[in-house]
């Protein structure tokens, strides 16, 4: 019974994915969606991957990391080296980017995850900056002027496919035994330890996985914008991702997706008012935190049942139109 219901929701999800993909792809092919919105759709996809992967670390495992942009940078540069310098195909570059970022996440996570709370936050912030400054000082990848001449391999199909893969992979991870262990660490680390959960192992596992997916997002990023530049991966980018995670709700994958879509749309819609854009954005952040500190969805997932209760659709959809 339970299994059948699960298969049914999975099937609905699959059909929905195919429908969304087919609609958007045909709109792009028919030139209904111009280059500006195409760019934003790609950005939304990259942001979804980043937000969902950071949510695995921050939301589900409860480890407060704010250096995600560093792992994204590693993925971006690693994949660019693979395609430009070594002439390897894009898929290998993505895997390489994920592997590089994941390995670095593992190497960094092992010692730093002994810290907790604010100390971990500051350490990861510092690590993100160290990664960026080190890249800045490597002439092989262009140093301060950035890595130029990266071919544009990323298109909507790649982004969509990898977003779906990321969401399914992380969702399945969370629903597995390992994911439960991660959630138990979030709820109470000492109690989890006492119940026999190997907290170090699971913290490092979640951190490594999150970093690897950030690497995937980085690969997509550099292969869309022709360039990987150290200035794109500052701690402001990390804050951007963190904002999406918190806004959507810590521990809610659908929340992260909604917030990534919403925030990318808001910044795109405000693009014509460059002076006011960041002011409105920052005020929105403050007001949202004041009135909904637990994020849009809390730690709940958006489901068909929840949609049925909110007749008339989601309220925030109206802001996306303009």
């Amino acid at each position: 019974m339970n299994l059948r219901r699960k298969t049914k929701t999975d099937l609905i999800g699959l059909v929905a994915c195919i429908l969304v993909y087919a609609t958007v792809q045909s709109l792009i092919l028919a030139d209904v969606i111009g280059p500006f919105w195409q760019l934003n759709i790609v950005l939304i996809g990259i942001n979804i991957i980043l937000a969902v992967s950071l949510n695995l670390i921050n939301g589900f495992t409860g480890q407060f990391s704010i250096g995600h942009a560093g792992f994204m940078a590693v993925g971006a540069y690693m994949s660019a080296v693979l395609t430009v310098k070594l002439q390897l195909p894009f898929i290998v570059a993505i895997l390489g980017g994920a592997l590089g970022a994941g390995l670095l996440g593992f190497a960094i996570g092992l010692p730093t995850l002994r810290l907790n709370g604010d100390y971990l936050a500051i350490a990861t912030l510092g690590l993100g900056e160290i990664i960026r400054i080190c890249i800045l000082n490597i002439p092989y990848v262009g140093g301060a002027s950035g890595f130029m001449g990266i071919p544009r391999y990323t298109d909507f199909t790649w982004v969509f496919g990898l977003v779906v893969f990321t969401v399914f992979a992380i969702k399945n991870f969370i629903d597995s035994t390992h994911g439960r262990a991660c959630i138990s660490i979030r709820e109470n680390e000492i109690a989890a330890e006492a119940m026999g959960v190997d907290t170090t192992k699971y913290k490092v596992l979640a951190f490594t996985l999150g970093a690897a997916f950030a690497g995937v997002a980085g690969s997509l990023f550099s292969h869309y914008f022709y360039i990987a530049h150290p200035a794109s991966f500052t701690f402001m980018k990390s804050f951007d991702i963190l904002t999406m995670v918190v806004l959507g709700g810590l521990g809610s994958i659908s929340g992260s997706i909604t917030a990534a879509v919403l925030l990318t749309f808001v910044s795109a819609a405000l693009a014509s008012y460059p002076e006011w854009r960041m002011i409105i954005y920052s005020l929105m952040l403050i007001i949202l935190m004041l009135y909904r500190p637990q994020g849009l969805f809390g730690n709940k997932e958006l489901s068909l049942k929840m949609l049925g209760r909110l007749t008339g659709g989601k309220k925030h959809d109206s802001t996306q139109g303009n």
């Binding site: 936050a121 350490a123 510092g126 690590l127 400054i133 810590l250 920052s282 005020l283 935190m289 004041l290």
Partner: protein
Amino acid sequence: MDSSSLIVQFGQQLINGISLGSIYALIALGYTMVYGIIRLINFAHGDIYMVGAYAGYFATSVFKFSFVPALLFSMATAAILGMTIEKVAYRPLRSAPKIAILIAAIGVSLFLEYSGMLLVSPQPRTFPAVFNAEIYNVGGLIINSQQVVILVVSLLLMVILTYVVQQTKMGKAMRAVSFDTDAARLMGIDVDRVISFTFGVGSALAAAAGVLVGIYYNSIDPLMGIMPGLKAFVAAVLGGIGSIPGAMLGGTMLGVIEALVSGFWSSTFRDAVAFGILIIILLWRPTGLLGKNIREKV
């Protein structure tokens, strides 16, 4: 480079480092006090330092104030700003999850930076020269009058702060709230007022640092607060967050290390070294050099 010039070079970097470090220490004091009381990493603190620098700039260039009134004006402006931010953005979130208040702080920080850009234009401005820059040559080491002023002003402010925290009634209340907020409230301390006061004092110190930096580097811009803000936080953690002598020690150490790194190695690695030290300190002594070790209880 022979050994005598190496020593001179070392001494010179030490002097530059100490004056830079005392600025970090002033900013770090605000971080450490706020963190000690409400456990919040106030990301907007670096931007209050920026606002302080601009207040000092307008006080000297528009109102034609001399140095001390301009410094006091800037400190007062920042204190009011800090208390307002606390009241509007942080106080309503005091019982919310910690991450929400952190995001609010990031929001306030962005708001200050970009309103600054809108109001005073993103271009850097030249800070008016409030002193005649004199250069003293002490045994081959070059010290300029700005460095002397920075040191004197920051030392004076630190002494005043230590007096306030150690000797006054408000200082006692601050220490009590930081030790145990609930117990302090039960003992009749107006916790909100104490927190507001802490924000005011911390912001005033940051503003003083902003004015001093304006005098030292002659240039201010709306995004100037980001890096020093982070560095000052590193300094606070380095010394042991929540500890006032720790913030002073951490700030000075960080300044000296940075000056030595940029003098002897490469200035591009300066920030990386600062964060590297932070991580090493955190792993080796998570509560900082002067911090107390608190065992976690269930």
